[in-house]
């Protein structure tokens, strides 16, 4: 509880901003969904068969997994608020459409007959009789939609639209329960508050509702225009995947670019959930630069020619191939890589290493009968994971499969004495672990380097030089240390980045 309060106090500013984004995205989506679904439902009441078809369609739309929908939207509309709102509108259609349709089509036919017999026009009948009678059902549909939207809007964080989801994603990544709770509780509270407001609005008079509606619309329109007008013109967008490491890196990129090209403004979009989203965004020029691993490029972003699939490659070869294929296939520029290799690693407690004189994985095989490993499920099943270890090193230990974050607690509690991990994980530093050298080069190479789209590479040639200053720098140990600063010591990524640049004399203090 105390931790939660502390986190809240620390991140109040961020939370308010996220809340604002969350509310904006949710309400805009709700309004759009209402403007589509309610008139549509009113129109199809007369055409029963068409209504059935539309109900089916909206139901099917709702079954599309939200991640898939976001993925499909990125190539069409890019990243950010637009695809998030489109996805949310799609989900909100069903409850609103269904309830409006049911609310109106289930009105007692004798009331319809009475309205006709009194010479009401279609419009008058709709506004004086049908809508007022159907209103409670329609409003309950709108409430359902809103609760759904507010919950689903947490996914908007995955595609750079911000909102409370960014807290949850960050919390999951940093194993910080307080952050997750902060995001989740805020989102739940938001749903409850708005749902209550909508329920209360049922008692308001139609005219008051209409005025409220118009105020909301004008507010959003104003907000939108304000942002458009204020958006800086010469802005480079640098994004990063979820986690402290990309966050620190993009802050370094920003500092380096702004130092050498003062006329350029850099906007940062940290904590993107999915690699594929980010890569699409880069190709769409919604994002201009982001740090990517050479291994990831070959594995999932480009098509590797058949002849070269499955070959063993040195770090240098991996990078060169990735660079060549990115240029050929997507016309993207891949700058020089940094030193560290963020790949799988095996880690043990420092005392354990000293006691058993462990330096390499080969050393480990000599004492393998006394080893119990806590491995991530995926690692156990991969050919470049435990299976490869068995084949290449003849390693054979007792294995417990564990959630990635649990492994570290397990080794700290001495439930296991060997874990897999990534070579720059902050936990290595946090729990005082040492990594064992992959002396037979089993693990694939994952070297980070800036990936730039063509537009920015052509327009700002000096950016290459700025970012290449990092080439060959940052060791695994340094990266792990910086991750530790952010994740455990709660330093801001911007500060950690700047501290590193200063120490390396890459940052010149303004005179």
């Amino acid at each position: 509880m105390q931790a939660l309060i502390n986190t809240f106090m620390e991140r109040r500013g961020d939370l308010y901003q996220a809340l604002g984004q969350h509310i904006t995205i949710s309400l805009v989506s709700l309004l759009i969904a209402m403007f589509i679904a309610i008139p549509l439902a009113i129109w199809v009441v007369k055409y029963k068969r068409l209504a059935e078809v539309l109900l089916q369609v909206t139901s099917v739309l709702q079954t599309i997994p939200s991640l898939a929908l976001l993925g499909l939207l990125i190539p069409l509309v890019g990243i950010g608020t637009t695809p998030a709102i489109i996805a949310l509108v799609v989900y909100a259609l069903l409850p609103i459409f269904q309830n409006t349709y049911i609310g109106i089509s289930e009105i007692d036919p004798s009331l319809e007959e009475a309205a006709d017999a009194f010479g009401m026009s279609r419009m008058r009948k709709l506004f004086k009789v049908e809508l007022p009678i159907a209103m409670p059902v329609i409003i309950s549909g709108v409430r359902t939609a809103l609760v759904l939207i507010i919950g689903t809007a947490t996914l908007a964080a995955l595609i750079g639209a911000g909102g409370l989801g960014s807290f949850i994603l960050l919390g999951i990544d940093r194993n910080n329960v307080s952050l997750i709770l902060l995001g989740a509780i805020s989102s739940a509270l938001l749903a409850i508050i708005f749902s209550t407001l909508i329920r209360l609005s049922q008692r308001a008079k139609p005219r008051q509702l209409l005025i409220g509606f118009i105020i909301l619309l004008v507010g959003f329109a104003g907000y939108g225009v304000y942002h458009k007008v204020n958006a800086p013109k010469d802005t480079i967008v640098i994004a990063g995947k979820l986690g402290s490491e990309p966050d620190v890196l993009i802050n370094m990129y920003k500092d380096l670019i702004e130092q050498n090209e003062p006329r350029v403004k850099v906007a940062l979009k940290p904590n993107f959930g999915k690699t594929s989203f980010l890569f699409s965004a880069l190709k769409n020029e919604d994002v201009d630069i982001y740090p990517e691993f050479s291994g990831t490029v070959l594995e999932s972003l480009v098509k590797v020619p058949k002849a070269q699939v499955g070959q063993k490659r040195t770090p240098q070869q991996t990078y060169q191939l990735a660079k060549k294929l990115l240029k050929q296939q997507d016309d993207l520029t891949y700058l020089k890589p940094m030193a560290y290799n963020n790949t799988y690693t095996l880690a043990v407690k420092k005392q354990f290493a000293q006691k058993n004189d462990l330096k390499t994985i080969t050393d480990l095989t000599k004492i393998q009968s006394s080893v119990t490993a806590g491995f991530d499920l995926e690692f156990i099943d991969r050919n470049d994971g435990y299976r490869g270890l068995q084949k290449t090193y003849g390693l054979n230990v007792k294995v417990k499969s564990m959630e990635p974050k649990l492994r570290y607690s397990a080794i700290n509690n001495q439930d296991v004495n060997l874990v897999d991990g990534y070579s720059t994980d902050s936990e290595l530093r946090q729990y005082n672990l040492v990594t064992l050298k992959d002396n037979k080069h089993l693990f694939p190479v994952y070297q980070g380097a800036p990936l730039i789209n063509k537009k920015v590479a052509d327009k700002y040639p000096r950016i290459k030089a700025s970012l290449n200053q990092l080439a060959g720098r940052i060791t695994e140990k340094q990266m792990s240390e910086m991750n530790y600063e952010v994740n455990v010591k709660k330093e801001s990524p911007a500060k950690v980045a700047k501290t590193y640049l200063k120490a390396q004399h890459l940052w010149k203090e303004a005179k």
């Binding site: 017999a117 009194f118 026009s121």
Partner: protein, 325 residues
């Protein structure tokens, strides 16, 4: 809609009307003349086509062949809204609009016609008073707060609010209890006498037809068997069917089966509990069951859930019967 017909002239004429449902002819060559200012009743069993005939007059149904004339103009030549604004309509299901107050329901057509607010409000109050409901109490109630009989009183007010020359009533009282039905029959007769409107009234109840109609048309299977005044139909039924129908109707309204609840509701009892010891009856007991007791005693005590709510005397019963006849 111009109103030029004098009393006794044909107001509504149905000429060679044919109506099909799903290709099946339900009404074939129906001819009928309804005079201005008359209370005309269409009576028949269910499926006789009487409601369909009624609904063709305000075009809720369209005939497949033949013409319907109001005075001398075909209904299909009228502006639909104009036609309907000048024809009141009362439904069996009552169908008050549930989201509107009593006053809004009654004032609906005057408001659509563009009357000013004061005139609408005054009309609403006058009509409420006329149908025996206190405007202060009822004006702003919602339909769901009213009993069936009260609801249909409002339904009638709604139909006649703008004093239309024609009022159509589709079995308006068949869903009501016998007492309310009786009271409302009296009410529509009273209103008809004041307004001199042309009423077309559909019912399956011969008693009701005989009580209300200036003239009655007996329908069966889409045909009109006989059109005449109640007395003439009674004396000279056109055929066996009419005779049968007429005979069955003679079962009088059995007022003596009325539960005590009704008398309590209508105020035919004393609220004060009597000082002496009386025989007690639950309020669900029918009148017949307490007659015997009341032939010997002055009064009985009415109870609800074993709690005395008042006393009933023979005098009360006589007053009730007089009111119901």
């Amino acid at each position: 809609m111009a109103l030029t017909a004098k009393s006794g002239q044909p107001m509504i004429s149905l000429q060679h009307i044919q109506k099909k449902f799903d290709g099946k002819t339900v009404i074939n060559d129906l001819n009928l003349q309804i005079k201005q200012g008359e209370f005309f009743v269409l009576v028949g069993t269910s499926g006789s086509g009487k409601t369909t005939t009624l609904k063709m007059i305000n075009r809720l149904e369209e005939q497949d062949d033949g013409d319907i004339l109001i005075e001398s103009k075909k209904v299909k030549d009228f502006d639909l809204q104009d036609l309907r604004w000048n024809m009141g309509y009362v439904l069996q299901q009552i169908a008050l609009f549930p989201t509107m107050t009593v006053a809004q329901n009654i004032g609906l057509i005057p408001e659509m016609k563009g009357w000013n607010k004061q005139k609408v409000a005054a009309t609403v109050d006058r009509l409420l008073t006329e149908v025996g409901l206190d405007p202060e109490t009822y004006r702003s109630r919602m339909p769901s707060e009213l009993s069936g009989g009260e609801q249909q009183r409002i339904g009638i007010c709604r139909a006649i609010a703008s004093e239309p020359p024609v009022v159509l009533m589709d079995e308006p009282f068949s869903a009501l209890d016998p007492i309310s039905r009786n009271q409302l029959q009296d009410l529509v007769l009273m209103l008809h006498q004041r307004l001199h409107d042309t009423v077309v009234f559909v019912t399956h109840d011969m008693n009701e037809a005989l009580k209300l109609g200036d003239r009655i048309a007996v329908m069966s299977k889409g045909e009109i068997l006989q059109v005449d005044t109640p007395a003439k139909i009674a004396q000279n039924p056109a055929n066996e069917f009419v005779k049968e129908f007429f005979a069955h109707s003679n079962t009088e309204l059995n007022l003596f089966e009325t539960p005590l609840t009704e008398l309590v509701k209508l105020g035919f009892y004393q609220k004060s509990s009597a000082s002496e010891q009386l025989a007690t009856f639950d309020q669900a007991t029918p009148l017949t069951a307490v007659m015997d007791q009341l032939s010997r005693e002055k009064a009985i005590s009415i109870t609800q859930n074993n709690r005395a709510i008042g006393t009933l005397t023979a005098q009360n019963i006589v007053a009730f019967l007089k009111n119901s006849c």
